[in-house]
Amino acid sequence: MVKKLKNYIGGSWVEASTSHYTPVINPATCETIGECPDSPAADVDKAVQAAKEAFEEWRRTPVLSRAQYMYRFKALLEDRFEDMVKIVVAENGKTRDEARGEVRRGIESVDFATAIPVIMRGYKTEDISSGIDETAERQPLGVYAAITPFNFPMMVPMWFLPTAIVCGNTYIVKPSPQTPLSMEIVYELLDELDLPEGVVNLVFGGKESSMAVMEHPDIVGVSFVGSTPVAKLVYETCAKHGKRVQAQGGAKNYIAVMPDANMEASVANIMGSVYGCAGQRCLAGSVIVAVGEAYEPLKAELVKRAGALRVGYGMNEESQMGTVISAAARERITGMIQQGVNEGAALVLDGRDVKVAGFENGTFVGPTILDKVQPDMTVAREEVFGPVMAIMQVPDFDAAVDVINRSHYGNAASLFTASGKHAREFKYRVRAGNIGINVGVAAATASFPFGGQKDSFFGDLHGQGLDALEFFTDKKILIERWL
C-alpha cells in the first residue's frame, strides 16, 4: 500500500481536500513510493490562517527561545541523517554522497539560524537632534512561504524556513510534487520540537497551490527556486500581490580553463561540477570554454574521465552518477543532445543509451560531451539540466569573458587558472552571481547569500546569509524625545 501524503497544518497532519494525487516515482526503480496530493487553494488558505493565528504569539516569543528550537532541530536532523539521505536518493535519484552533501547543507542553514539572536540586533544613535534619539529595530512581518524544486528537496526549503521562523515569522513550505517525501520527514522532526501550532506548515501540491501561495493576501513574502520562466511568473505575480519575493531561476554556467591551469586537478573538479546530481543543479557547469592551447589536453582528459564515470542507482555507494528526475526529463535532455548534433556540434561522448543492470527502466542519461560548440547553438545558450557538457574553444581570456557575458543567464561562472591577474579580472568582469576560481561548484555557504544575476534571479535580496535576515525582517525606525 503506497502512502498517501498528508499536509501539515496548525501542528497536525491533515488530509488534503482533494481526491487527486500524483504518484511519487523513484526514478531509478520506477516504483511508486508515495502519493502526493494536489492540494487546492482552500488548503493553502487553511495553512495561511494557521500561520497567521500563530504569528502574534510567536513573534512575542523571545528570539533566544526561538533559536533554542533550532539546536534541538539540528540534533534531530543529525540523528536521522542517513534516513533523510535515503529518502532524497529514493525520490530524486541522486547518489548517496550527493544526498549527504545536500542534507549537510540543509543542516548548515539550521546552524546559521541559531545565530539570528546575534545578527538580528538593531542600532541606535543618541541625539540626532538635541534630546532626541533614533533607533532602528528589526521586526518580523508575518506569514512567509516557499515554493521549492525537485533537485534539492531537503536543502532548498532549509535555506528559508529556519531563518524565517527564528526571525519571528511563521512559515509554509510547498515542495515539488515530484519530491515531497524529504519535506515529510523534515516536518516529522519539526513536529517533535513542540513548536507552537501553526508556526510551520506544509502543503503539498502543484500549480493550483503554488498560485494560491503567490496570490494569497495574507502571505507577506515568497521564496522560490526553479526554472527561469516560472521564476519570472512568481516574481511578477507576487509583486502584483504586494509581496516580498526572491525568485531564483535557471542557469547556464560557463567554466573557462586557461592553458596555465592545473589540468588534472581542474578536470577532477569539473567532473563534479558538470555531472554531479546528473547536471540537475543550478550551479552545474555546463559549457567548458577552453582557452587557446588548453583545448586539446583538456578535451582529451574530460572525455577520458567522463567516460569512466560509473552510472548507477544512487543507493549503491559505488555509483558516481544517478538518474535524472523523470522519463520526461530524459526525453527533453536527449532531445537537446540531438539538437546540438543537428546544429553542428560533435558528439564525442554519447550517454543517451546508457543502461544500468537491474535498473533497466531507470531514467538514466550517461555523461555526454558535445564538442565544437558555438555560442549561438541551443546547447550553449539554453539550460539542459542534465549531464551534458558542451566544449567550446576560444582564442584568449578576453574572448572567454565575452562569450560568458553573452549568456542571458547569470547564475555562476568559474575560471581554472594559475594566474592571479586573470582570476581577478574574471571575478571583476563576469556578470554572474557566483564566481568560482579553481572551483567548479561555486556554492555559497549558509552565511553568504546565494547569488544570481540576469535571468537567473528575480528580486533584490538573495536567499541565505544576511540577505535572508533582511528578507525576513523589516527595520522599524523609532525617533523619541522625553519631555
Binding site: 542517513e82 554522497d97 550527493e98 567532473m271 560509473r310 555507494e317 559505488e318 558516481q320 561548484v441 556554492a443
Partner: protein
C-alpha cells in the same frame, strides 16, 4: 570499488564494525572498544565532511585489496587483521580531498599500525 567519498567511508565503518565483532569474539574488549569508538567517529565524519564543492570521483582503490583475515583469533591473527586495516587507511587517506576527513583516516591508520606491532 572504492570510488567515492561515501564508498570509502562506508567501507571504513563496515571494517571497524567487523573488527569490533572479531575482537569481542576473541575476548579483546579493549580493542573492541577502540573499534567502536572509531566506527562512531567515522559515521560522524561521513555525515559532516561531504562537501558539494569538492565532491570528486576517486580512482585507483579496490575493496578486494583490503579483505580482513578474521579466521585466526590468536595474537598473531589479530596483528595481521590490524595490519590490513592500517594498509587500508594509509591508502585511502591521501585520496580524500577534505582535510578533516583525511585527518580522521590518518589517525585510524596510526592506531591500527600500533595495534599491528
Amino acid at each position: 570499488m572504492l570510488n567515492s567519498f561515501g564508498s570509502i567511508m562506508t567501507f571504513a565503518i563496515d571494517l571497524e564494525t567487523r573488527l569490533r565483532d572479531y575482537y569481542e569474539a576473541a575476548g579483546n574488549a579493549d580493542r573492541a572498544r577502540e573499534c567502536e569508538k572509531r566506527r562512531s567517529n567515522l559515521e560522524r565524519v561521513r555525515r559532516e565532511n561531504v562537501t558539494e564543492i569538492k565532491l570528486e570521483p576517486i580512482a585507483g582503490l579496490e575493496a578486494a585489496d583490503y579483505a580482513l583475515p578474521l579466521a585466526d583469533a590468536s595474537a598473531g591473527g589479530q596483528q595481521a587483521a590490524a595490519r590490513v586495516a592500517a594498509q587500508f587507511y594509509q591508502a585511502v587517506a591521501p585520496k580524500i580531498n577534505v582535510r578533516e576527513a583525511q585527518r580522521a583516516l590518518e589517525r585510524c591508520a596510526r592506531q591500527h599500525q600500533e595495534a599491528a606491532g
